[in-house]
Amino acid sequence: MAENTILKGGAFILEPGNVEICFTPEDWSDEHRMIYKTTMDFVNNECMPHVEKIEAKNEEFARQLFATAGELGLLGTDVPEEYGGLGLDKMSTCVVTEAMGTAPSFAVSHGAHTGIGTLPIVYYGTKEQKEKYLPDLAMGTKIAAYCLTESGAGSDAVGGCRTKAVLSEDGKHYILNGEKIFITNGGWADTFIVFAKIDGTDFTAFIVERDFPGVSSGAEEKKLGIKGSSTTPVIFEDAQVPVENMLYERGKGHHIALNVLNIGRYKLGAATLGGIKGALGIATRYAKDRQQFGRSIAEFGMIREKLARIATQAYMAESVIYRTVGMIDASLEHVDRADPDYPAKASEAIREYAIECAMCKVFGSEVLDYTVDECVQIHGGYGYTAEYPAERYFRDARINRIFEGTNEVNRLLIPGETIKRAMSGKLPFMQAATNLLGEIMEYSPLMVELPDEPLALQEHMVGMCKKAVIFVAGVAAQKFMMGLAQEQEVLARMADMTIETFALESGLLRAKKAIAKLGEEKAALYIQFVEAYLDETIPKIETWAKQALAYIEEGDDLRTQLVGLRKLLKYQPINAIAVKQAIADMVVEKNGYPLG
């Protein structure tokens, strides 16, 4: 991997993809592979046999799981060594998170603890705060939670925050009053990262211990899924928080809240991958076992196509997530760890990839929902009963489209952040849009000559998808100017086009890397994944683009633009059914995700 080449966040849409700097799961080091195995062993031996105990929300057992995970180092990948952790790269954290993603409910408890519960202290804590809290969190002897959401502060977390902090008369404590809701680990946690407004105005974070006077948690929520995780309100009634427990600076809580969410999002993407592969595994094994009409249902075309689609989407999700983490790790290598300002600079480096992080979250959680839905379907009536794990997978998956920023908020962020960067000149987007308008007039798909090599057509189409995104964004920006931020339906379509293009390109670059390494024959599955996914996705991208244009323009202008769009996205379908049949063969043979 060419370490010194760093891709700017959001720039992929403007530049040709670079195989050299695209990180893939095939680039995992031996250590990454061993970390994955240890985490899977933990899940399979310590969690899976005890699903019932976990689902019953047994606190004692949860603490035991945390302690075992802590001993194995599964809580400390992001915690620096001097504070009892391992200080590994983000890739290692993602490897742990993916494997842990298969653990019923504990995946969420673990994710909240190691991510939003611990990272604010890692990145923004003072030396004293880190010394005091991090070793216990890394060892799992204490459990962490993150208190941002309130009844009136969901997606609008900062604006809607009503929890107040007031300095006590003796100046030794902040007195907190307010109620946070939907707090993961709320009933179990020993330390809470709490956001409150000092004097009702300055949004600020605090480290709050359960034992501080005035801190309590409310009743457990009765949830649709992830029933084995604790979710409660956390209540502050004249809670006394020592002044030294203020985290980072007064009025700068939003830095923490937003940056930690960026990390939370790519991590969530990794966690959904675990769920996707887990559900595909049980769906495949069930399909092979289940006999109807004298045959295993895994022999039937419609079941096989479902398995092939899930595997294809899993490949894309995997490609998106590990590519993003690779970008982040490459960028973090340029931040000096010895710099006293390292944490702030590191979280700034991660923030650069806010767009990619949001895409990991949206794409991963939606592939997961598709997967668990079809997993139930493949199980038929049995899938609807609690006797089979498909039902639990189905319920547990649903939260992923809601927490760490709803998928709607994350969708808005993708074009929103792109436009912001275009306006400030960080991304030469406007230039690209202007150039493209001229280019389209001259362009004819008849002139395109593709090289005779695998995936040449797909590579060409990925380039065209990028142009389609720029085209629609350019037209929309020209029409609505500053008002574009209010046109959510248009923004949503721009976001979807961007996400799918990123997925396609990530899968393509990974396949090209595999071809270079293994040769065309052995990389056949990679090639098939890209062919199958592109064939299903081009029509979607074209539809979103058409819908957006039809809303923005009318009459002759619209007609001209639609002609331009049709030229860009001209694509003759391949025999995608045959490709998916080949993929299904591999899924059935390997009892699930065939690259796992």
Binding site: D30, E31, R33, M34, I35, K37, T38, D41, F42, E71, L72, G73, L74, G76, T77, L86, L88, S92, V96, G294, E589, K590, N591
Partner: protein, 256 residues
Amino acid sequence: MNIVVCIKQVPDTETQIKIASDGKSIETDDIKWVMNPYDEFGVEEALVLQKEKGAEVTVVGAGPQRVTEALRTALAMGADKAVLIEDDDFYGADPITVAKVLAKAIEPLNPDIIFFGQRAVDDDSGVVGSAVAEFLDMPQLSVVTKVEVGDGTVQAHRPVEGATLVLESTLPCVITAQKGLNEPRYASLPGIMKAKKKPLEVISLADLGVERDDKLEIVALNPPPERAPGKQVEGETGQEIAINLVKLLREEAKVI
């Protein structure tokens, strides 16, 4: 005290095995490889002694480069160093040849105890441990579920039909581990990171001065026969079904 644990890398028990076109070996291209589960018991027992007796634990494996992964796993669990006898063509070798090679590599390590798994889950031959004991002229305590090391001696338990055989031997000796000996630990993340810096020596058959002279050859590998599909017993009433069942058991299955 020096302890050696011999490790074989075998296909993951969940891997679907395909027989290669030669009809006498398996296709190794697409396989996930793991440490032989019985060898894990040996590693764990060695690590217990490492802590109790301050023993130095060396893990030894033979085969192609990929065997490094199994050795690294043992290092991550806590072993001190590793030796790989690298040979691309070693998988499936005659167990006596394997034992000769291992004995040659182990001898200079001056071991007090050599652990093996009681057998490998791929070929189930269960010969290598005994043969190494023979080549090194050491006593052998095979298929044991408990080990207690005293002063220059070792006691071990072997389960036999409904009873336990208690064996005692002087050191050095060879011990082969049976399921139940212990619960192997996980390779922890700190262990994995430390393993990166631990010594892993790679030697060749030529370095050991051994030439392959296999006497045993696998001539054929047959997949298990496909299970015949089940049969539903027909009938309108319970009585009728019972009659038909008895009929089938008598006439088709011929068991009554």
